[in-house]
């Protein structure tokens, strides 16, 4: 089996690693700006699939299929995002004789549509959040949308039918804001997923986001895993995920994993997927949607179960039977927490901070896993999601996992761009976070309460140390001090020219 990875960044690297471990050759694809990216270097083969904008490259089904044909790949892993939940892509792979490492086109179409998935959940006897049963077609009148929202009851959320990762999603508190919210959600959804359909859903007051990872094989077995807690979200985008959830005890875990497996089974679901639930304070839970793909946060599940989900995705696609003890999958061993490290400036409203990375010292050591897609000398392009790495800490219990995460964040260095590391160091010191007292609105409320202070809480002593270090740095550069000094931007080229003149 030769696997083409129809993706980029950390997930492409993670899949290449899995393939290497299974002895499978890999084919990377890349757009113009990703020519020097790590997944291109790490794969055995690499095919250019178009200009930098994703719609002209990573979203071009024809070019991806052609890349597989050219290189003799016979399987395709879609990763997450891009075409991972695009039924047409899964079909095109099947039609081209390629094994799609993911669910069937039918299952993607069914569960990838948030509205159809809700119907599946209802049929499986799993409660759903009140909302529109069908997508709002692009020609639905504003009045009709307003009536639907009124029927559901405010506050509502406008959601992209093809959505994911908080894209194409808007909160609406008051009827007057509905029209604009629908418009911007459609526009974001269109550029992110190539599909402008949206629907409405009631917004619960203070729910937790709890989700259940599943694996299903082609022999009728579906295995649900211990839940993940993903309530730490900024504008509906997960930023911290952990497993298990402090809000889920063994009895609730039994109920919620059974509900998840029932939905998946009734959809005839195979390969890896995740059922997302909203969990109310009273312990009742509602089906939210299904992610018909591998998720960003899959490592926390891997770390508390010691089961490699990407290996299993490949093995399932090859027709193997799931040989996993269901009890082991559903029972957490210790606690794992993941931080998504973005190339963003948290002190500027999480503004993207693309550019050349001048140095990386990733955290490592006991209990630490770093899934990264970048290295020193790599440029974070402006065209895609700005996540550059995932840092995952495991320990015996949550308190120790948080302490370890904190230790690892402090040693993680990324030079040349801004990252969300200072934000996470701040977050892991918040009392509500330490106590596990949070819901999906927690982080946005917390952020809204801030008045522009930096997340890098520096003491006077730290500031003075920085000032002294900056002066010493300048002094070393001016005097070519004790040990090798470093070039500033532009310096390298002049050296190279100098060498050429010798």
């Amino acid at each position: 089996m030769k696997v083409l990875i129809a993706n980029r960044g950390e997930i492409a690297v993670r899949i290449i690693r899995a393939c290497r471990e299974l002895g499978l050759p890999t084919v990377a694809v890349y757009s113009d700006c990703d020519r020097g990216a790590r997944h291109v270097r790490d794969a055995d083969q690499a095919v250019h699939v178009g200009p930098s904008p994703a719609v002209e490259s990573y979203l071009r089904i024809d070019r991806l299929i052609d890349a597989a044909r050219r290189t003799g790949a016979d399987a395709v892993h879609p990763g997450y995002g891009f075409l991972a939940e695009n039924a047409a892509f899964a079909s095109a792979c099947r039609d081209a004789g390629l094994t799609f490492i993911g669910p069937s086109p039918d299952a993607i179409a069914l569960m990838g549509s948030k509205t159809a998935a809700r119907a599946v959940a209802m049929r499986a006897g799993v409660p759903v959040v009140p909302g529109t049963d069908a997508p709002l077609a692009s020609d639905t009148s504003d009045d009709e949308i307003a009536r639907a929202a009124a029927r559901i009851g405010y506050p509502v959320i406008v959601k992209a039918v093809a959505g994911g990762g908080g894209k194409g999603m808007r909160d609406v508190e008051y009827p007057a804001d509905l029209r604009d919210a629908v418009r911007t959600a459609r526009s974001e959804a269109g550029s992110a997923f190539g599909d402008t359909s949206v629907y409405l859903e009631r917004r619960l007051a203070r729910p937790r986001h709890v989700e259940v990872q599943l694996l299903g094989d082609h022999h009728g077995t579906v295995i649900p895993f211990v839940e993940r807690e993903c309530s730490i979200q900024r504008r509906h985008q997960k930023v911290v995920e952990e497993s298990p959830s402090l809000a889920v005890d063994a009895r609730l875990r039994e109920r919620i994993t059974r509900a998840a497996a029932a939905v998946a089974a009734s959809a005839g679901y195979t390969n890896a997927g995740t059922i997302e639930f909203l969990l109310d304070e009273d312990g009742s839970f509602y089906f939210l949607e299904m992610n018909a793909r591998l998720q960003v946060e899959h490592p926390v599940t891997e770390m508390v179960t010691s089961i490699d989900l990407v290996h299993w995705q490949i093995r399932i696609a090859r027709g193997e039977r799931l040989a996993i003890d269901p009890a082991r999958a559903a029972t957490p061993q210790g606690h794992a927490i993941e931080c998504r490290i973005y190339a963003e400036d948290p002190d500027e409203g999480f503004l993207p901070s693309p550019g050349l990375i001048r140095g990386v010292r990733a955290a490592s050591g006991p209990g630490i896993r770093n899934d990264g897609g970048v290295a020193s000398g790599y440029t974070v392009p402006v065209f895609y999601d700005s996540m550059i790495a995932k840092l995952i800490a495991w320990a015996e219990n949550r308190r120790e996992a948080v302490a370890r995460l904190s230790r690892a964040l402090a040693e993680y260095e990324v030079l040349g761009i801004r990252t969300t590391i200072p934000f996470f160091l701040w977050l892991v010191r918040q009392q509500e976070f330490l106590d596990g007292r949070f819901d999906t609105t927690y982080l946005d409320r917390l952020l809204a309460s801030r008045k522009g202070e930096s997340f890098s809480e520096l003491t006077d002593g730290d500031e003075e140390r920085l000032a002294i270090a900056a002066a010493l740095d300048a002094w070393f550069r001016a005097t070519a001090g004790p040990s090798a000094s470093a070039p500033r931007a532009g310096g390298w080229k002049s050296v190279a020219r100098e060498e050429a003149l010798r």
Binding site: E413, R465, A467, A470, A489
Partner: protein, 172 residues
Amino acid sequence: MTFEIEVNGRMRAVTIERAGSMPARFRVTVDGASRLVDAQRVGDFGVSMLFPESGDASGAVQIAPLSGGGELLGHIGGRTARVVVNGQRTRRAGADTVAAHGEQAIAAPMPGRVVRVLVGAGDAVQARQPLVVVEAMKMENELRSPKAGRVKNVAVSAGTSVEAGRVLVVVE
């Protein structure tokens, strides 16, 4: 040698002198207060400091230029702060409410598409009030006013594709 070092908007005069004959020892004076520092460059951007007069405290700092603008970012224990040496680097608009005086141009920080313009010329704005929404890296990003003031002019409209550095709004 004396350097004017600004960290998070606060200026300090830092004087560096070799301390005696020991190679890595420096007498460092910060705003008049003097201390001994054992300093060593580590790697391209790192400075390792020990403070023999302060319980042998160890401080490991990285001072690296940010991609693009040439601004310096200081890193200490996972946290960061903007650093300006001898005023050479221009301050980034919008990042510092304390020092944001006079006319301020809000520029696109990266290539993207203007999604919404939230103010018009002549509007009064508060510090940190959103002015323009630019879509980049698949997310919509609000660019905020660096100061309280009045919008002098708006140079773009919704739908415009902009390059990095393009001035979008001027606040006075």
